[in-house]
């Protein structure tokens, strides 16, 4: 039965013929993602980074704390592949732990902020009018208040405010507003689309329309904002650590490593480059994965792109 490919759209007909017609939507999304080369490479790199940070500490003999056996200020050598700090940390051990903490913060912020922000923004945009006005004023408050100051003020005064999950929660608490604004803008135009009206004419409830029509169609901008949010979270966390409000020693994060090494870029480059490059790698891979996701979720785009 799948042999009969009617002459509707020849371009899609050959794309479909790979797996036959009876594939689920999820399978189609996966297959489209697999075809996106940059995203696939990035995904592989990210998996390696995750393994490195979560499995690595179990295998490597030095952790991120100070050890008397570690010689201070040694450039990379077989014993310490990334060198050591003045205080006697092994940089490789620090990098593993630091990346792990940073990733945990970044992903938590991204997921929480995106979910809350999308729902908030979509609800405001769909209802419009007074509801929209009220909800967006709340968003404005969160956008106006200098994020770093608030984060720092809270983190410093709450017990346990310097553990990674506390830091993540505090950043999320402020970061969702940006997403809400983006999503609301997109939804404002989407809700005028006729398919939304068609759903309303069939008796769909607002919740149904928001979840089934508005959010999926806003997926592109949402994903872009979510990937950006990861980068923002990493930078915020670094900033907080620098101001001594984020993750505190003896624990460590990438941001903290970079700020510790900022005076040593030329004298002891092994302190600066590993965390810096790691940060860059994470942000880049996540951006590419976001691109791939966006294309995979949009049935129109990936058909043309090979």
């Amino acid at each position: 039965m799948s042999e009969k490919k009617a002459p509707v759209a020849p371009r899609s007909a050959d794309a479909e013929s790979v797996g036959g017609a009876e594939r689920t939507q999820f399978q189609m999304i996966v297959s489209r993602f697999l075809r996106h080369r940059a995203a696939m490479i990035s995904l592989a790199v990210l998996v390696v980074i995750v393994l490195f940070t979560f499995v690595g500490p179990l295998l490597w003999r030095w952790d991120h704390t100070v050890h008397l056996e570690v010689p201070p200020s040694v450039p990379p050598n077989p014993d310490h592949p990334l060198g050591t700090t003045t205080a006697g940390h092994d940089v490789l051990g620090q990098l593993m732990r630091g990346t792990q903490q940073t990733l945990k913060v970044a992903f938590t912020v991204s997921v929480l902020g995106t979910v809350i922000g999308s729902l908030w923004g979509a609800t405001a945009g769909y209802y419009g009018g007074r509801v929209d006005g009220l909800m967006m004023r709340v968003v404005d408050v969160f956008l106006i208040v200098p994020l770093l100051v608030m984060v720092a003020a809270i983190a410093g005064n709450v017990r346990g405010g310097t553990t990674w999950y506390a830091v993540a929660l505090i950043i999320s608490f402020f970061a969702w507003a940006q997403i809400a604004r983006v999503v609301r803008g997109v939804v404002l135009s989407l809700r005028e689309q006729e398919y939304v009206e068609a759903a309303r004419a069939s008796g769909a409830s607002p919740g149904w329309i928001i979840v089934r029509h508005l959010l999926p169609n806003a997926a592109g901008p949402i994903i872009v904002a979510a990937t950006l949010l990861i980068a923002v979270a990493i930078l915020l966390e670094a900033g907080m650590s620098f101001l001594q409000f984020g993750i505190q020693p003896p624990d460590i994060s990438l941001g903290q490593m970079i700020s510790d090494a900022r005076t040593a870029v030329s004298t002891r480059p092994w302190l600066f480059y590993p965390p810096g490059l790691m940060l860059l790698a994470i942000c880049l891979t996540i951006n590419f994965i976001g691109d791939g996701l966006r294309d995979a979720l949009d049935p129109r785009q990936s058909m043309v792109r090979r």
């Binding site: 759903a199 004419a201 069939s202 008796g203 149904w208 999926p216 949009d298 049935p299």
Partner: protein
């Protein structure tokens, strides 16, 4: 000034070309694309003589616009243009930007479709016309402005001196398009290319703009290439016509020849698929099967062969060239310069002599409604479920019952109204900008409308854009809430129900949209789209799946296509998906909001036939909202004509078209172009002037009086007072059906 320039142009034209102003030879345009070269235009040749009007007709994607863009040198840099196009003997293909700029606007000018985007919103109208003058003439600013004034007079703009200082947004659509025409005329070009110049306008305004274009052209003696999809416009306004299909010219000839004696099955099919104002409603339309070819995968032989009912082996193998048919039936080549010749690109064009669309496309009119998928006909019969055959039996019964009572159905009296609307009013508030958002006025979109929709009938709601017909449709579904008035469905007051209470009733009242591209969620598969209403109303998944298959079959789509996304379908197929979704819950009433106006002619006929079949099979009632009177005449039982939020005339289709009584109805009917050159040129016309006033500030008394030809020309001063002071009631004034004009008089127009 004008005549001398004219002379100089004639002198510069090279000898030998005679009075030919535009000569296109073997013009081909290819776009590179991800999927290989895309031949948008293939070997197009034509000549245009001084003062002549040539119409280029074709459906979307036939290459008609690309051809003219290539002549104007307006194509993107990556397009490959081959062949030659000579304007007054000067080659323009391959010229660089600076050189072609000397030709553009000076000798050849272009008018685009959308007057909203082709004028710059930040400059005054006068400035923009003067700019066009200054581009090619070294004259002072004052002289340029004086010329601008002259040009505005040329295109019949009232108060031209005042208009000069206005900005585009202060003018109506029709006025803007006149300004665009004025700009095109600024340098007395020898050729004007008008690309769908009136497609974005209402019919009454279209008539005015075409009139203005015509008179401006007469004044300057410019030749015209009129590109359009509207066969009616072509019939009335050009001398010769070229039909394009799949990037090629497939038929050319004098307009009467092509319309009365088409020699290419495609042209014949186009004429047959057009609902006509001058024909009876009972005649079924004859759509062309299939969809226009994808230019990426053009068939080997004739591009039309896959859709052609008389295609033979030769057609699939060899592409026919554009030849004339001689007396003895032989096909002979004629030079492009022979503008009187009638040529067609069909191997068997001699067989079409005297053929009628119904002869050739009979199969499509009667039989399978599986039209544009092609592959479904053979799967159709096999999967007929029990439920469906039961349904069929029921339908047969219903049909019988209907046949018994068909005697008194003419005006719907004696039957129960299924959906009634009483004194419906909808005002949209206009709010001030800023924080307070004070109410500073209101748009009176709908001002007191009463309608009755009877069971199993089609009621058409007709009017120009902005008359409130779509708002009325949405009010009837309670998608927006009325300001006042009542909507009742089978005695249940919809207007006072909450959204929650309405939800179960939504099953019975469904909506089909105008734009098949915007009305389907691009991220859902077709199955999910059609199943959505079922899921909303809590049907189980398995049940929904089965129903979706039934529905896809019902609207003539391949059931296997359910897992595809909307963008993979053509416009006609998408509209079928929209219809399938609306039918999912077995509604009793379908509200069709311009369901075919976004579709190409050949596709439109298929959808109209489908709607008619569905009504017969399922016993549906239709509220058919449309601006197109020819479609309405074809499909509707009764018609209500709307103007500025009020119904001005209503009656059975028969009555309304035979003897329209309200001047607005008369004007609407006479503004619809007929696809028949002789009738179109000789018919009596009732012309209205100006544009629809703003519904935020409608005229007092009769709302039509500002544009009414009767008010302006026939009525005495004392009679006019009544029009100004007293809004006319919608009552029967002796014409057999109600109208809202104090001085109505039935006129025969067709």
């Amino acid at each position: 000034m004008t005549t001398t320039e004219h002379m100089s142009n004639e002198e510069t034209s090279s000898p030998g070309t005679g009075d030919v102003v535009l000569e296109v030879r073997d013009l081909s345009v290819t776009f590179p694309s991800d999927d290989g070269p895309l031949p948008a235009v293939r070997e197009v040749s034509y000549v245009l003589r001084r003062g002549e009007a040539l119409g280029i007709v074709g459906e979307s994607g036939s290459g008609k616009s690309v051809t003219s863009m290539a002549i104007m040198g307006l194509l993107p840099k990556n397009a490959r243009v081959e062949g030659s196009a000579k304007v007054l003997g000067q080659e323009v293909v391959g010229l660089d930007d600076a050189e072609i700029s000397k030709v553009r606007g000076n000798r050849i000018a272009m008018i685009f479709q959308d007057p909203l985007t082709s004028l710059n919103p930040v400059y005054t109208v006068g400035y923009q016309i003067a700019e066009a003058v200054l581009a090619h003439h070294k004259v002072g600013k004052k002289a340029a402005m004086a010329r601008a004034l002259e040009l505005l007079e040329l295109v019949d703009i009232p108060n031209p001196a005042q208009r000069l200082k206005q900005y585009p947004h202060e003018l109506s659509g029709g006025m803007r398009q006149r300004v665009v025409i004025a700009i095109a005329m600024a340098n007395e070009p020898d050729v004007i290319i008008a690309d769908e110049p009136t497609t974005a306008l209402d019919v009454t305004v279209q008539a005015q703009v075409l009139e203005a274009l015509e008179s401006a052209r007469k004044e300057t003696g410019a030749a015209l290439v009129l590109i359009t999809h509207d066969l009616g416009v072509v019939a009335g306004h050009v001398d010769r016509v070229g039909v394009m299909y799949g990037g090629r010219l497939v038929e050319t000839g004098p307009v009467e020849e092509v319309f009365y004696r088409p020699r290419m099955p495609y042209a014949l099919g186009l004429l047959g698929s057009l609902p006509r104002l001058d024909e009876d409603r009972n005649e079924r339309l004859t759509p062309i099967l299939g969809t226009p070819p994808s230019l990426l995968t053009l068939p080997g032989g004739c591009a039309f062969a896959p859709r052609c009912p008389m295609a033979r082996d030769l057609c699939h193998e060899q592409e026919p060239s554009l030849l004339a048919t001689a007396e003895n039936g032989e096909r002979v080549r004629v030079p492009v310069e022979d503008t009187g010749a009638h040529t067609a690109a069909c191997h068997f064009s001699e067989e079409l002599e005297g053929a009628q669309p119904t002869d050739l496309f009979r199969g499509t009119a009667v039989g399978a409604e599986t039209t544009d998928t092609g592959g479904t006909a053979d799967t159709g019969g096999t999967a007929e479920s029990v439920a469906e055959s039961e349904e069929r039996a029921e339908q047969a019964e219903r049909a019988l019952a209907r046949a018994d009572g068909s005697g008194d159905t003419a005006d719907g009296s004696g039957r129960e109204a299924i959906l009634t609307v009483r004194d419906l009013v909808k005002h949209f508030p206009i709010r001030s900008k800023g924080l307070l958002k004070r109410r500073i006025g209101e748009v009176q979109a709908v001002s007191g409308i009463s309608l009755d929709l009877y069971e199993h009938e089609t009621l058409a709601l007709v009017g120009e854009s902005g008359c409130g017909k779509s708002t009325t449709a949405r009010l009837m579904l309670q998608l927006i809430r009325q300001t006042s008035g009542e909507v009742e469905y089978r005695g249940q007051p919809l207007h006072s129900m909450s959204q929650r209470q309405l939800r179960p009733l939504r099953r019975d009242l469904q909506l089909v949209f105008q734009d098949p591209f915007a009305s389907l969620d691009p991220r859902m598969t077709v199955s999910d789209i059609v199943a959505e209403p079922l899921r909303i109303h809590g049907r189980r998944n398995g049940e929904a799946k089965k129903r979706v298959r039934e529905l896809l079959e019902l609207v003539g789509l391949n059931v296997e296509h359910g897992s595809r996304y909307p963008h993979e379908f053509s416009g006609g197929q998408r509209q079928r998906i929209g219809v399938a979704r609306a039918l999912a819950l077995n509604p009793k009433v379908l509200i069709l909001d311009e369901p075919v106006s976004a579709l190409d002619v050949s596709i439109q006929a298929g959808v109209i036939n489908l709607l008619e079949d569905l009504q017969d099979d399922l016993g549906l009632s239709y509220l058919f909202v449309s601006h197109d009177l020819s479609v309405v005449k074809h499909i509707a039982d009764r018609v209500a004509v709307m103007y500025l939020g009020k119904i001005v005339e209503t009656g059975t289709t028969e009555e309304l078209f035979r003897a329209p009584a309200h001047p607005y109805t008369q004007a609407l009917i006479s503004a619809i172009p007929l696809p028949d050159p002789v009738k179109e040129r000789t018919r009596e016309r009732i012309v209205v002037t100006g544009d629809v006033p703003s519904p935020a500030d409608p005229p007092s008394g009769c709302r039509f009086r500002t544009r009414c030809p009767k008010f302006a020309d026939e009525l005495s001063e004392s009679e006019r007072v009544k029009c100004v002071e007293e809004p006319p009631e919608l009552v029967d004034r002796g014409t057999g059906h109600p109208d809202a004009c104090h001085y109505s008089r039935a006129v025969e127009l067709i």
